[in-house]
């Protein structure tokens, strides 16, 4: 039995000033102003929002703090922000702009001490370890960085455990294989990670319908579901997904828009 309500999270990948979407974290298409989409999802009843600047780790500085501070003017649910975070100062800048948590991937792989530093300074609830996973063979996934562009040779389950030991408060687990396909989550990946760690795991990549959500939660053990495509292209809404989840007897927050 799950002891907590499953969180329905809208994930917005950002490039420069724009919301974008691709498949397998590639082939990006510009969709529009992230702030407009964020507002829409907040009013639909999203439990949380995640912003990831997907090119920031390649080019250094980003427009994220500015986008974040404009977003939080009207949004009163937790906001996680990631992309290009390299040190404590970057974290501080994003928190000051209004982020509640930061998601770190590339810089954590390059220097795992960063996880401990952020956790000690701002608390474990503040740091989300973002893991991009690509399947190698049965029950074996490799950690990728830079939005799925760089191999690391690191095993996903080992890395998740190390992240917890270093003080991460949550894991954002993105399947590169499933991302943007709308064909369902990589359930085995989620299961392997949730069984290895005792912190919440947000499943990301592959959400096409509520059946997928049910599998990620009931078979995979996911604590939260990040959705992008399904929302951005208006194939469904958070409200509708919440209602369907309720009917499927998945415990979600009651919310009437």
């Amino acid at each position: 039995m799950k002891h907590k309500k499953v969180r329905l999270i809208a994930r917005l990948d950002i490039k420069g000033p724009n919301l974008i979407k691709g498949i397998h974290l590639e082939g990006l298409r510009v969709l529009g102003d992230p702030q407009e989409y964020a507002s829409k999802y907040y009013f639909q009843g999203a439990d949380e929002l995640i912003y990831i600047d997907i090119v920031a780790s390649l080019y250094g500085r980003s427009k994220l703090p500015e986008i974040v501070s404009r977003t939080v003017e009207h949004i009163f649910v937790p906001l996680t922000v990631g992309g290009g975070i390299r040190n404590i100062d970057d974290v501080k800048e994003l928190l000051r702009a209004g982020a509640d948590k930061v998601a770190i991937n590339t810089a954590a792989v390059q220097r795992p001490e960063l996880i401990s530093e952020v956790s000690r300074r701002f608390g474990s609830q503040c740091i989300v370890l973002s893991i991009e996973a690509k399947k190698q063979s049965d029950n074996l996934w490799e950690v990728y960085t830079d939005s799925g562009r760089e191999k690391t040779g690191i095993d996903v389950v080992d890395w998740a455990k190390e992240g917890v030991a270093r003080g991460a408060g949550e894991i954002l687990l993105t399947s590169i294989d499933a991302e943007g396909t709308r064909k369902g989550f990589d359930i085995e990946l989620i299961k392997n990670v949730t069984q290895a760690v005792n912190i919440p795991v947000i499943a990301s990549g592959g959400m096409g319908c509520v059946e997928h959500l049910r599998a990620a939660v009931q078979k995979g053990g996911a604590d939260a579901i990040a959705m992008a495509d399904i929302l951005h292209y208006d194939r469904s809404t958070i409200s509708l997904i919440r209602e369907e989840a309720n009917q499927a007897e998945i415990d979600v927050r009651r919310y009437e828009p």
């Binding site: 039995m1 002891h3 907590k4 309500k5 969180r7 907040y42 009843g45 439990d47 501070s69 939080v72 003017e73 009163f76 649910v77 937790p78 928190l95 000051r96 702009a97 209004g98 509640d100 701002f122 608390g123 474990s124 609830q125 503040c126 408060g169 949550e170 005792n198 912190i199 919440p200 604590d223 939260a224 927050r253 009651r254 919310y255």
Partner: protein, 216 residues
């Protein structure tokens, strides 16, 4: 009608921006300050905060806010502590050794149990949305608290590893259940109020709770 005035205490801890925006959304005139004089003169006070208890107390002490907060509590200024700010209101915390708190509501801050009622392991921190549960022996009527017009099945956003246990049941207004274990969510002793959840991160219901505080 004049706008409700509220002062958010800046002591170097927590996401002050979100609290400020949440209060402004409710048309309050908000001052965020670490100036003792302004804190003393405030109509209403909010004590935000995230992070470790000892760090929070240290920051308050550094600014000589401990006696200042006793003074404003004494003169009846409504004071709302949010999350760590709620925990700081109690006598002491058991987080990483025993640390004294502000002692404005009798009680102790203890760790959340990592074992559910059914024996399963629970994830800590407790992160996510939980429904409110009414407390049986509350000394204040529900309608006269922050929770006026808030229904019990409303979910609010929690993120914490420790919880504020008031000594007297009359100070406990509402809680939530995590793995079947009761966690205090709202406590109150006269003008001193604490909430464990983040109203500024709990959507529409949270905003209404902030509005209720402005009307107390």
């Amino acid at each position: 009608m004049s706008r409700n005035k509220v002062t958010v205490i800046d002591y170097g801890v927590g996401n002050l921006l979100s609290v400020r925006r949440g209060l402004e959304y409710n048309d309050a005139s908000v001052i965020v300050t670490g100036d003792p004089e302004k804190i003393l003169q405030a109509d209403r006070l909010v004590l935000p905060g995230v992070g470790a208890f000892a760090d929070g107390m240290q920051e308050l002490e550094k600014r000589q806010f401990i006696s200042l907060l006793s003074e404003v509590a004494e003169k009846g200024t409504p004071l709302l502590g949010i999350c760590l700010g709620m925990q700081l209101l109690l006598d002491r915390s058991e987080e990483f050794g025993v640390t004294d708190g502000l002692g404005l509501i009798p009680g102790t801050v203890t760790a959340i149990s990592s074992e559910a009622k059914d024996g399963q392991k629970l994830k800590i921190p407790h992160i996510g949305w939980s429904n409110l549960v009414k407390s049986e022996n509350a000394g204040v009527k529900w309608e006269e608290t922050l929770l006026n017009e808030i229904t019990e099945d409303s979910a609010l956003y929690f993120v914490h590893s420790f919880m504020a246990q008031p000594k007297h049941s009359k100070h406990l207004i509402a809680g939530c259940l995590y793995g079947g274990n009761f966690i205090p969510a709202v406590i109150q002793s006269e003008n001193i109020i604490g909430c464990q959840f983040h109203p500024e991160k709990s959507g529409r219901v949270g905003l209404q709770i902030l509005r209720n505080f402005l009307l107390l």
